[in-house]
């Protein structure tokens, strides 16, 4: 299989790894093509050989047999150190060099490649900025002076330092709390949209796989591919029992992570700007069929919900700080993120920003409900289709109970 029109970046050909004294090979006869510019996720139960497979790509583990191609070049026998300088590498434990500053850490590969000072310094600052940190503040710090999340970011920056077009990431967001992980995942996706690297990403968390992957390889014992497909196809059409089990319950809820706010039709909401006088605001509210108005500031950034109660109690024009803080999402947020925001803020409506941070519309909980219902219908149809295939002679609908 090749990418969606893209070409193959990494090709694994009958890769096998048998560790000394092991009865079953850790990886057995794995063949796979990884398309350029995509995030391919290896996911599977612990010990199934994900890490081993990944480390064979940069030859941290030498395959027992089989071949690895990078850009159609057989790198199975290439100089491993040269090869590794072309491939970014991030591990779960991050492995920043504790005795070196952040700048020195990031400069590792450029130094090995013999870049000049000026170029290295510029690149270091660029990268620290790219991962959302302030170069002036952080470049001379040591790893121990960073938080876990910041270290993780620097680990990613370091892997990108020489602008490799392939990155290997082994559970890069594994060791951090769920909230920070979520943020790092989102930032990384935004970054990837710009840099379009070919990324092999190992995780054992199917939710992370669905969120991050352009393509997911679900692996079983011995790195056998159970299914290698897009997240959508895997969720909608799991290849077998193992895959279905691995995806687990609540597959339709998981599908909420597949749809993004930008993909659905946004609703409208009546808005007021700060400075609007009370009478006009009250009129706006009665004219609309909603229970509140959305307060925007002069730049169009949503500031708060103005309710009828507020308008009744107020004595002067609407001020910038008025109202209750809204749940806010960006167009890149998934429906699952959106639902989360709503539940956290206890509103049934989330305000959507455009790319410049201005108000662009709202998502209501009903919209999300509908999305879930649509997915459930699709799933039922899939089950029904399968049942029909299983018993092709049955004329009647065998699954749908009489209503």
């Amino acid at each position: 299989m090749t990418g969606l029109g893209g070409r193959t970046k990494i090709r694994l050909d009958e890769l096998t790894k048998r560790f000394p004294g092991q009865a079953q090979p850790a990886v057995q006869g794995l063949s796979m093509e990884i398309p350029e510019g995509e995030i391919v996720i290896f996911v599977g139960p612990s010990g199934c050989g994900k890490t081993t497979t990944m480390k064979m790509i940069n030859r941290l583990i030498e395959p027992t047999s089989g071949r690895i191609f990078l850009d159609d070049e057989d790198v199975t026998r290439a100089d491993p150190d040269q090869l590794r300088r072309r491939i970014g590498y991030v591990i779960q434990q991050i492995g920043l060099f504790p005795h070196q500053t952040i700048a020195q850490n990031i400069a590792t590969v450029p130094k090995l490649l013999g870049w000049d000072r000026r170029r290295i310094a510029d690149r270091v600052d660029e990268l620290i900025g790219l991962v959302g940190m302030d170069p002036a503040e952080y470049r001379d710090r040591f790893p121990k002076q960073l938080s876990g999340g910041q270290r993780q970011r620097i680990g990613v920056a370091r892997a990108m330092s020489a602008d490799p077009d392939v990155m290997l990431m082994d559970e890069p967001f594994g060791a951090i709390d769920p909230i920070t992980r979520d943020r790092l995942q989102n930032e990384f996706l935004r970054l990837q949209a710009e840099i379009k690297k070919t990324i092999v990403f190992v995780t054992h968390d199917i939710d992370e796989a669905i969120k991050m992957g352009d393509r997911i390889a679900i692996l079983r014992e011995g790195s056998q591919i159970a299914q290698f497909d897009t997240p959508e196809r895997i969720l909608v059409d799991p290849a077998d029992e193992f895959v279905a089990d691995f995806i687990g319950r609540g597959a339709s809820l998981k599908r909420l992570s597949l749809s993004r706010v930008r993909d659905i039709a946004l609703g409208d909401w009546p808005t007021v700007t700060a400075g609007t006088d009370l009478a006009q605001a009250r009129r706006l509210l009665t004219e609309s069929d909603k229970g509140s108005l959305l307060l925007l500031d002069a730049q169009g950034v949503p500031r708060g919900w103005i309710t009828g109660d507020h308008l009744r109690a107020a004595t002067g024009p609407i001020a910038a700080g008025d109202g209750l803080p809204p749940a806010i999402v960006r167009p890149g947020a998934t429906l699952s993120d959106t639902l989360n925001e709503m539940l956290t803020a206890r509103y049934s409506t989330a305000v959507v920003l455009d790319d410049d941070g201005r108000y662009s519309g709202v998502v209501e909980i009903d919209t999300i409900n509908e999305a879930i219902r649509g997915m459930q219908t699709a799933e039922r149809e899939r089950l029904r289709g399968q049942a029909l295939v299983d018993s092709p002679f049955d004329e009647a609908d065998p699954v749908e109970p009489a209503r």
Partner: protein, 214 residues
């Protein structure tokens, strides 16, 4: 003569012996560091060799120093050479052991990420592993230095240099009026040297280990 008067009279002699004492110690520890760190580097990731080296160095340390000096007389004669040789042997264990412990204590994830970025074996060793193990190695050198300072004093028995000469001189004519002063002066000198070396190591540690690992 009381001890203070004694010091007033003899301080130039004490200073001379003290400088000798310090130089011999420093020389021996320097040699032991080169050999010890080298042995540590060669063996830290080879369990068999590692055990062999540690066991051998431990045996050195258990030989009583007087006996070792005696054994050296026929081979190396008297004076500085046999003393330095013996000191090197005694100083090895703390340095080798700490080098091995230090190198083995480096976080495997750090080494793996260095390797994963394409650092060669030698680059990894000198840019990552040794700098990270360095504080531990330095501690080994410090222990060796203190150990050596005491043993140098015994080296005067085979006409080695240093403050031991005063101590042995005092001990050999214990009934003479100055005997106690001689012993006391020499011993005090060793203690002062120990304190000075300790300060030196504190300074060295500040200057040579990264703020990131302190």
């Amino acid at each position: 003569m009381n001890f203070v008067d004694y010091l007033g009279n003899r301080w130039d002699n004490l200073l001379e012996l003290g400088v000798e004492h310090a130089l011999v110690t420093a020389l021996a520890v320097a040699i032991a560091t080169v050999i010890g760190v080298g042995l540590g580097l060669l063996t830290y990731d080879r369990p068999r060799l590692r055990q062999l080296v540690i066991a051998t160095c431990s045996v050195f340390l258990t030989i009583p120093s007087l006996a070792l000096f005696g054994l050296f007389i026929s081979w190396l004669g008297l004076g500085t050479t046999p003393v330095v040789t013996a000191l090197v042997m005694y100083s090895l264990l703390p340095i080798v052991a700490n080098t091995i412990v230090g190198l083995r204590g480096v976080d495997p994830a750090v080494v793996e990420s260095a390797q994963g970025m394409g650092m060669s074996r030698v680059q990894r060793l000198f840019r990552i592993e040794l700098p990270l193990a360095w504080p531990v190695i330095l501690t080994g050198m410090r222990v060796s230095t203190l150990l050596a300072l005491g043993i140098v004093a015994i080296g005067a028995y085979i006409l080695g240099p240093g403050l031991g000469n005063d101590i042995f001189a005092g001990l050999s004519r214990i009934s003479s009026p100055n005997a106690l002063n001689l012993v006391l002066g020499g011993t005090l000198g060793v203690i002062v040297l120990a304190i000075l070396f300790d300060l030196l190591f504190v300074l060295l540690n500040r200057l040579t280990t990264s703020r990131g690992v302190r």
